[in-house]
């Protein structure tokens, strides 16, 4: 069940970060290890918008210090999963 939830979260996370991704090719093959800045070439300023969209989509509050810990897709999925449960 948790694994299924993680899959759903991953799908939603990919959808949210997609519009901020410069390297769409890397997005198509993204895994939990994919790095947002280095691999997807997301402008670091857009992390603010991504966090706001996570909060809206998952109905959670993400403290700044927790947001700062996100560097990979997996980090985002794990953090959202933790806040949901």
């Amino acid at each position: 069940m948790t694994e299924m939830n993680n899959e759903k979260i991953l799908s939603e996370v990919i959808g949210i970060i997609g519009k901020h991704t410069r390297n769409q090719g890397a997005l198509a093959t993204a895994s939990m290890e994919t790095e947002l800045l280095k691999d997807l070439q997301i402008n670091s300023a857009r992390f603010v918008d991504i966090i706001l969209e996570f909060e809206d989509r998952f109905n959670v509050q993400i403290p700044d210090e927790e947001a700062d810990s996100i560097s990979t897709v997996g980090d985002a999925v794990t953090l959202v999963g933790k806040l949901l449960h």
Partner: protein, 423 residues
Amino acid sequence: MTRKRVVVTGMGVVAPNGRGLEEFSAALKNGTSGIKFFSELQELKFSCQVGGKPRSLDDVKNEYFAQDRLYALSDAMLYAGIAAIDAYRNAGLVIPEENSDEVDHDTGAIIGTGIGGIDVFAEKVYPALQTGRVRRMGSTVVEQVMCSSVSAFMGGIFALGNQVTTNSSACSTGTEAIIMGADRIRHGLAKRMIVGSSEAAGPYVWAGFDAMRVLISKYNDTPESASRPLSASAAGFAPGSGAGILILEDYELALARGARIYGEVLGTAINSGGMRQGGSMTAPNKKGVQACIRSAVVDSGIAPGDIDYVNGHLTATMADPHEMKNWSEALERKPTEMPLVNSTKSMIGHCLGAAGAIECVATLLQLNQGFVHGSLNCEDFHTEISAFSQCVPQKSVEKNISIAAKASFGFGDVNSCIIFKKF
């Protein structure tokens, strides 16, 4: 040091009556007005409910920008960006790859705006502040609201390593930007400059002018008749918007790469009237205007009589008669001896900060294609300057132009003038 010659090798335009050179040129030739009625202005109780706005770019913007870039673009940035990319390609240049680390240190950008990101401020910043939701504004506000928004993002598109900046001199902005870029090449500080200006459309940009009662309010039912420069019934300008961009190059560079040359920036001048001798924040000192035109002529090394076409500032306010007299005085030509004069604003309205650049594109198109477009809606020519009526075509005429003058004048009593020569 001998100054470098500066030529125009590319152009792009996003105007109320056409996007791209082909469409814009056809609109000029055909006398197509871009002025429309806006129900939003009516609902907001504007006196003037008409204006000029480029048609929606939703169907083409994805061809110019990836989704992540579009996310952070304001309307003024989008207009400028599309016009700049078109201009760069029109100059035969290839846009650098995103993943290339090469920086073009010989090329810069001076892209002006008059009102800036006031629309973004009104739509995003103010509502968020009023409701205590600053954190919810997101990351894009600064890059959309900062005065240099319309130039800053060009650096990334074209990998610019030379000066990248924004000028702002009210309605003189666009012409001034072109002159500032040309100066940089003239003095050997850059080999190529992307220059021009952009202005957003809509109630937040236009409201202050409506409040000043300088916008036309009598033609809400017939918008295409609303922009009436040089007309006896002119009673204010129709607001406009859009962007015009030129690629300026060192002549030697353009020659070496076999670039098409639309014209040479033969001479230029920028000055101010000091808000004296009749000048004020909102009115020009006529001596300043005449001095600006004369300086541009002298800088060009031509005689005033060599100019065979004038693209006027001519906004459809009470300043039009004064402007015609100023051209006559400065060029030392009687009304009956004046070269052909028209107002591109008669079709697109007054595009504020973008006006000068869009009108320079119009000037160069006419120079290259051998026509002078009709100045619309002046069938009832202003009686105070009726002697000039013979030099203002009301319909497009074929005319072989060698040297054209373009001037812009703005709030703050600021002036700019460019003399273009056909190549």
